[in-house]
Symmetry: D2
Subunit: 238 residues, 4 copies
């Protein structure tokens, strides 16, 4: 029968398993979201609707993979999902895990669009890339989260000043860029405060720190928490 | 500065490149589409709208990756994309390639839904898994395509008889299954012909053979061809 | 110049790095040592000279890779080497690590042969295969060692009874095999004790438990310890 | 029983298979052979005994893996072995293949030492590293061989002039290095010819082109050919 003759081509497939006893992180990043946010007129420097849409897509993923996912952390157009060290889902096959999470996130993003952007028609389907990273220890995992949160902080501080200079200060983008070249963190705080009366520390935590989602059961019904990510948050991971 | 302290966690990432001088195939499969097609009342044994939606999502991918993709082949809830042997897109990084194709396909599927199912609300976002396979020779590639097409043929013949027995013959699914146990290809043709006056070879090629998409330029404007897949089709690949 | 034209072939090479923050174990196994030990008339069930030759080859490896190797454990024709979690030798490149350890072990085995078998000419060069395994936690590492030691124990107990039955009891190998079929550990102890007056627990630890080697400095000069492996031994690993 | 409790640690092992339908090349390189050749007083710029010892070790490997190995190519302290595209030895497991070839080569090198250096005691065991590379097409394979042969040519031409300047011209190594800085191929030929009356093209092919070994059967008995590698040689590979 015809099938058997060709089926040898399956042998060209490979399947790597994730090393046991490691946390498995899947991180998703928007592809070319600079353009996507421009085309859909996202607010600058942060569009709360867009961040909450990322959170909604992440919740779809976390619910679907419950109870294997310990937490999700999102900022800007990226999201990280942390699977239990002991998870045996898909036999820990790297490609299975990555592609199922990524695909569901992508389709959920489009699916939930209308709830978050009721007055904006999506012009074209966005896409994300993804990767799998393994961390053997809780310390490594916390450093990973700290790294992403530091990234959030640095970018958000820059963007907050940049867009203040442009939108309120009347500079063109190139001028704002010039103005910020070489400034350190305290310079940026100072510009915000003295020129725009903005105390950066009073900006919403959602913007400054990103979002964290834990799957939790409370009482009889199941509820999903969306919390701002603080230094202490990771301690709840067992 | 804080970033440098944590950034070591990047070293846990790996990135495999695809062996040069091999065709790169990315195959996408619907996850749990049995349920998805039931919930959205897909017609049995084939729903032309659903197949054309798969084709639309595939076209979005092929346009986006033009001219690196040689062709796409789809059947049922799966799609295969063939990248040129010589492609250097994303430096041939396996995860980058796979995740970008898969994510775009997934979001395009949801994005194009309304055009193909104008009267059916999507109940939940679907997902797909994906894999990368390398083939060193054109012969291997053709055998791969033949394998997928044989799969299409076998499943579609079975489903055509099965649903004829159920929808027209009045059997319940279990009875239809029983009836078909142990039958070979010619038996199934015979049942279709003698009991339901269906000549299987007259069924639409879209159902029997699947869809193939080539990126092509004709004249000044660009047109996209959707063709039924025939034995000779692969010869046009250079 | 000619070189540049062909050098693209380097791009077909891959190099995987070992995940950081994991113990790296390299295990070496004799290939077809049943034949090798027969051809060179190794004593049964254990040949102390052969075991000490394995230890000598292992010492050559450990000295060469000092201080990156924490310990070595050997039994029968296999040896395991444990590299520090934090080692950055060869940038943790898997193939570099594996092949350098394996090659040195193999050539050292032949090099030291004459010191351990002064009256036996080596008939042909032996070979070993090797593998790399990563363990994220000390608990995993200890379980690995326990697994190999349990393997040593089980095989050695079996071989000790088997060869007592053959060499002292006058059975042919097939009869000895039959006699042992289905026996458990306590049966084997009993056979040894009642029929051959051998208390298995008094057999040399080298045979029953294998060899462990730690690199150590004591006083001004460097000394190399060869110890029998006990349950507590692993605790010294920091 | 104790074994089962610990055996889970096996799941940390991985095994990559080589992509089917590709040539598998295993290349072995001497580690720190500069020192090894100094300590054992190898002749400069080439020591025929050392090259023939490499060939002897390679023959041991090729005989052992016959008929899976198509050819071997050696130059200086490196050797490449080409396995058939269709080989299924060790199920094409990368680590198995690599480690068995490498280990046998290493122990054979020490084993055959005395036949090639009857008057030189080996001072310490040498080691080699190894790698696996896959090539999908015959063209890639030939380019690989051309690349290695070009490497042989370039290094040997340089070394021939360098050691002529030192051994016959009375320069110290640093002076010879200076003299050669910036010279191209024709300059080096000219120095050899005008100052030392050496026509480089008359140097032994073994030095200029390296060694190639094909496994061959001729007549009833099996003979092993050692040939100098020429441009046409690769055509005999089917």
């Amino acid at each position: 029968m015809a099938k058997s003759k060709f089926e040898y081509v399956r042998n060209f497939e490979e399947d790597d398993c994730c090393l046991p006893n490691c946390y498995i992180i899947i991180r998703i990043d928007g592809k070319n979201f600079h353009r996507f946010s421009d085309e859909h007129a996202f607010q600058k420097p942060n569009d709360e609707r867009a961040l909450m849409l990322m959170n909604a897509a992440a919740c779809t993923v976390i619910k679907d993979f419950k109870p294997e996912i310990l937490m999700g952390y999102g900022q800007s157009d990226e999201y990280s999902f942390v699977f239990k060290k002991s998870t045996s889902i898909y036999k820990r096959r790297k490609f299975k895990l990555l592609t199922n999470v990524l695909s569901l996130f992508s389709s959920a993003y489009v699916f939930h669009w209308k709830s978050h952007f009721p007055h904006t028609k999506m012009k074209y389907p966005p896409s994300f890339d993804g990767r799998v990273v393994l961390y053997p220890s809780l310390e490594n995992l916390r450093d990973y989260m700290s790294w992403r949160q530091a990234d959030c902080h640095i970018n958000n501080l820059y963007n907050t000043v940049f867009w203040a200079l442009v939108l309120k200060g009347g500079l063109v983008p190139r001028e704002a860029q010039e103005r910020l070249r070489g400034t350190v963190s305290s310079d940026k705080h100072e510009i915000l405060f003295s020129e725009f009366a903005i105390n950066y520390n009073n900006e919403p935590e959602l913007f400054r720190k990103g979002s964290v989602i834990y799957p939790q059961c409370s009482g009889g019904s199941e509820s999903w928490n969306l919390k701002v990510f603080g230094q202490a948050a990771l301690f709840v991971i067992s």
